[in-house]
Amino acid sequence: MPLTQYSCNCGEGTNLHTHLVNLDLAKSRGVLIDSSSLKTVITKTDKVTNETDSAPPFALDLRDAIQGALLSMFIGDALGSPLHWIYSSDKLSTIKNEKFTGALQGYHRGSSIDVHPDSWKYFSRCDPRKEPVDSVFGGRGSKLEESWRTQGTPYHNTLDAGDNTLTARLVAALVGNIVSNKGLDIENYLASSYIPLITRANDSNADTWVDETHRVFVRNLVAGAQPFEAGMDDLCLTGIAICVPLLLAYSANRDDCEIAVRSLLQLTHKNEEGVKQALAWGDLLKHILAPHTLTMHQGRSIIPSLSVNQALRCSFDTFSEGRLNLDEVLSRGLSDIDAYHGPNVVFSSR
């Protein structure tokens, strides 16, 4: 059964955009699709075909799914803080053996490792001798300065076990902004959440590390740049991650979602590809949530939902630009470490 990339005008947005749809399923639900708009046919294996629309969702309902998505984000972030940005597989293995008896098994303090093997060259880029740390980052200056001057400082050395990095704190702040304003209010977010979190020394952000994109934003802002002109062109996972609350909140309307994503990324991640990737991530989340929204609305849907397995594979094709076949990679039976670090490495740990 083919999965097809379909350029449509489904009512979710006024602009032409694409969906990944199961044509047979679409026909069975009486969905009219203009064949002239079909673009790319991706043939999948029987394994996927057999799972079409049959996998029951594990989440209880939409509430469970959305809350699960957000809370799991904070858990995934907090678990990773001790080993963040260690890329050398040998050093990673040594550290895990010495400090975590082979592997992380739960939350640990960011300072669990004494010396981060790779941090210096990155911290040196924000050497306080070169940057006005005190003036730009306010009262946090002394703390940052001490950390940034020390070779081997772990990136998140001030975080307690289970605490979140600055990026996750920004996600939480965005969630609060959406709740308070019943939607994204980017100016309120900027003034009440983003800048205070980035610049002030208070308990709301204990993280040592401030990503370059935020440092550049603040430097340019204090130099007189307008807030929406102060950010830099940056394409990285952070940009997608901070958009997730928007992708969930605006999942029902792609036009609004795109406006919201652009409004946020304009601040610190001015990159068109970043916008596309964030929206593609939103499409994937939407497919995962779709079974619950279908239940809520008596099965009415313009675009039939994919099973989670199919949606993940379609997104895998999209993000790998067709270079990798997920089923083929999974069939190799690699351990996760081997897939990311082994001699036959498949993925970048970036």
Binding site: P57, F58, A59, L62, R63, A65, I66, Q67, G68, A69, L70, L71, S72, M73, F74, G76, D77, A78, L79, L83, H84, W85, Y87, G106, E131, P132, A161, G162, D163, N164, A172, V175, V179, L184, L190, A191, I195, E212, V216, R219, N220, A223, G224, M232, C236, T238, A241, P245, I259, S263, L285, I288, H297, L312, F319, L330, D336, I337, S349, R350
Partner: protein, 248 residues
């Protein structure tokens, strides 16, 4: 992330407890190092949506330092979305529209003023720009006077890659020595970049910057530092800026 998400989602489909699958996925991601925090955020968003909050292991939830704050925020967030969707419209557009950028004044930010030193540095740059123009091959100066125009390493890296693939006919090379670090600066009509062991800077408005550097060099080469106007000299001295020209 998609590999990890697929692998552990399918483990749950094959009979493993969803709670265990979620925990194994997030721990495995953490143990991979690299950008594991950001990957953890995104992987968590996918598998958390698949498995639901009801399948989050309690010890992981309880171990979050800001658990109460996060649960309350996500609960309110979820409630808001459900309220909007429960209207019966599967594509609601009345859910609070995002405010577009950047159309309004930023009165809330008015209290944030540029520090005095940045203003002075910008004044310095204007002074340099006001001077005339001669080709320069080598300069010595205090690099951080241009930090307000910094666009960061990532942008610089991309622009550098672009620049290296384009014509080099309009490039000039100057060297900067500061604090015993030797740094290379390359600039053309589009970019100026500076990299050393102690820092990396990228300047987007290179034509303006080149003009400023060349202008100062011309005055120095023709008249010596005493011919530079007193305000500029004061600014140089205030910031310990030493500029000398070595013709190539």
């Amino acid at each position: 992330m998609l590999y990890l998400a697929s692998k552990y989602f399918e483990e749950a489909q094959c009979g493993q407890s969803p709670s265990e699958a979620l925990e194994r996925a997030l721990l495995s991601n953490a143990n991979l190092g690299g950008d594991c925090c950001n990957r953890g955020l995104l992987l968590g968003s996918l598998l958390g949506a698949c498995f639901g909050a009801s399948n989050i292991p309690l010890h992981l939830l309880n171990g979050l330092k800001r658990k109460e704050e996060l649960i309350e925020a996500t609960d309110l967030f979820t409630e808001l979305i459900l309220q909007q969707l429960s209207t019966g419209n599967i594509h609601p557009s009345r859910f609070g529209r995002p405010s577009p950028f950047p159309t309004k004044s930023y009165s809330a930010l008015s209290a944030i003023q540029p520090p005095r030193d940045f203003r002075l540095k910008l004044e310095l740059m204007k002074k340099i720009a006001a001077m005339a123009n001669v080709p320069v091959k080598k300069l010595r100066f205090k690099r951080d006077i241009f930090s307000p125009l910094d666009e960061g390493d990532a942008a610089r890296d991309r622009k550098e890659a672009l620049a290296s693939s384009s014509s080099t006919s309009n490039k000039k090379a100057i060297r900067l020595d500061e604090d015993d670090h030797t740094e290379d600066v390359v600039y053309n009509q589009d970019i100026v970049q500076c990299e050393s062991g102690s820092g990396v800077f990228y300047y987007p408005q290179s034509s303006e910057l080149v003009s400023r550097l060349d202008a100062y060099a011309k005055v120095r080469s023709r008249h010596g530092v005493d011919k530079v106007d007193p305000v500029t000299i004061d600014l140089f001295q205030n910031y310990g800026i030493q500029i000398s020209i070595n013709r190539v």
